[in-house]
């Protein structure tokens, strides 16, 4: 990780550079900033996460294993992973298409599209859930017709996936747009002048250069899809063993005063997040060995 862009952009790499640069601050300022940064992180992030695991194992490893092997919990885990597996690819495709349209073309209604992409970030997730109940619910616009044809959306997987998609769809587009704007037209023009079709240019030149933005967007999208509570709570109906996702399961166990089981299931969510982060680091480490990401200053090795 020592010699490449993404690594170099991390704060952890900074102190060595800072000591030789003209921006070198007095030692006490650096110390203060590090203490504040690390301290804040400790209180707000590390301590609660540690507490989750501490509470989860409060009644011993045996109890913990029983809690996570509970059939209802396993079903919730399966549903959460299924939803993520549907939502993340969907939003990745949408995000790439939207970012491509916004950064490469000028068209009518472009600013409206940009605003609409941001809408889910501005709307409360509960509202997002209610929108789908209003459309597909028993008293909704097309709910009765769907019931006649035995199509279930609300209180079923499709509803949960839809609500989660709504809540997470800005994340990929939002992380891609600035990166794709940065890449610049020149590379695409080069590819085209070398004989590549538009499609080939996109796959071989545009997307690889924007892959950090895409990866970051997918990780954010995945994390949010697995952790979403509000919107899912409205549409899922919380049928134990059927339409409970992990976050809903945690809440249910907590409400039933089964605190230790709640923390055990919560620790699974944390573990999923950690897996995501580890994946991210591995991908970064593998691909950034030889190259710098877009936008980073090119290094001269003469």
């Amino acid at each position: 990780m020592a010699s490449h862009s993404v690594g170099a952009a991390l704060p952890s790499e900074e102190p060595r550079q800072a000591s030789t640069s003209v921006f070198a601050e007095p030692a006490w300022v650096r110390l203060l900033l590090i203490v504040v940064g690390v301290g804040f992180l400790g209180v707000v992030v590390i301590l609660p996460v540690a507490l989750v695991f501490e509470q989860a194992f409060a009644l011993g490893a045996g109890f913990y294993l029983d809690a996570i092997r509970d059939p209802d919990t396993v079903s919730a885990l399966r549903l959460t992973l299924t939803v993520a597996a549907i939502v993340v690819p969907l939003n990745a495709i949408f995000g790439v298409a939207a970012a491509w349209a916004i950064t490469k073309f000028d068209f009518r209604g472009k600013s409206i599209l940009i605003t609409l992409i941001d809408l889910p970030l501005a709307v409360s997730p509960v509202v997002a859930g209610l929108i789908y109940v209003l459309i597909f619910g028993a008293q909704g616009y097309i709910g009765p017709w769907m019931r006649e044809h035995d199509i279930r959306v609300i209180f079923a997987l499709p509803g949960i996936a839809l609500a989660t998609t709504f809540v997470t769809f800005p994340l990929v587009a939002r992380s891609l747009i600035p990166v794709m704007q940065d890449v610049g037209r020149e590379y695409e023009e080069a590819a085209v002048s070398l004989g590549a079709s538009g499609w080939r240019t996109f796959w071989s030149v545009t997307l690889p250069q924007a892959k950090w933005g895409l990866l970051y967007g997918i990780i954010l999208c995945n994390a949010r899809a697995m952790g979403e509570f509000g919107a899912v709570a409205v549409v899922s109906g919380k049928i134990t063993g059927k339409t409970d996702t992990l976050p809903l399961r945690v809440e249910k166990l907590d409400k039933a005063f089964d605190t230790t089981s709640a923390f055990a299931v919560a620790s699974m969510l944390v573990a999923l997040a950690v897996v995501t982060l580890v994946l991210k680091v591995i991908v970064e480490w593998r691909t950034s060995d030889h190259e710098s990401g877009p936008g980073s200053p090119a290094r001269e090795h003469v």
């Binding site: 023009e189 002048s193 004989g195 080939r200 250069q209 892959k211 877009p294 001269e300 090795h301």
Partner: protein, 358 residues
Amino acid sequence: MTIEIHHLTKQFGDFTAVDDVSMRVEEGSLTALLGPSGSGKTTVLRMIAGLEVPDGGRIVVGDRDVTDVRAQDRNIGFVFQQYALFKHMRVQDNIAFPLKVRKWKKDAVRERVAELLALLRLDGLGGRYPNQISGGQRQRVALARALAARPQVLLLDEPFSALDARVRDELREWLRGLHEQLHVTSVFVTHDQGEAMELADEVVVMNQGRVAQSGTPQSIVREPNSPFVMNFLGRVNELRGEAKHGEATLEGLRVPFPGANGSTVPVVGYVRPRCLELTTAAAAGALPVSVVRVVSSGDVAKVHLVTREGSSLVAELDQSALDGLAPDGGVEGGEFHARPKDIRVFEVEPAVARPAGD
């Protein structure tokens, strides 16, 4: 392949970037499009490549009209100013890109890439990434990539502007040698007249979207056809005056000017600093001047002069010639006579008092 351009025009909003440009690039030649920024030279180059769509006119490469052919189907090599190397591909993959796009067989690709790496003195660098090589090497990779699919035409946009001066001179000579070896019809854009004169067989000087003059470097240096070209090719002294009956009078200096008939027209004469001779004695065709200042840089001295009518002139003399004028060393403040060895006189156009671009 020859390139023929017929009445090409291009507007960007209200700005006319290219205005009725026609030119012909001979097969196997190295042609420079020379002009100040905003003269439309890069736009012409980009239209030849198909990266810009002309508003009017035709572009013919060889015997094929490519005006409506897409950029990817033109088979024209283009070297970008900042090279536009794909950062996520190794040097060899950059060079192989146009071949893979054309579905060459693996062996053929490998062979061609090796050939180009050798030709462009990039041996051993095939496995590096673009950010692991020097600026000069990057430029050669960009060239190799542009040449890989054996294009009919090679276009280069300001090929040396991103390099420092020492590398630039070296690469210039080398590029000239490469062109003589390959004989691919090549066009490059530059704002540096020295670069154009040194490298090109043919130079097309552009100004405000139009062709100001075209020809061999020698013909353009010897016979600039307009005040703009005169000014753009280097520093000039201006002498203003009037012309009548085939003769111009510039601050008392009489010069033949065949263009003038019975009516008086305002004219301006241009003299290069190298073409001003200083003498102690009055001579025919010489102006009395006084020396304001002498700036010597080794062999050559710049002598700043002022005429009787107050015009400032600069003469460039060999230091030895200057020493001959005043053996005791006191040239500054002295009175001399300046004789232009070569003077070019143009009628002053009412609209363009002073040409742009200098």
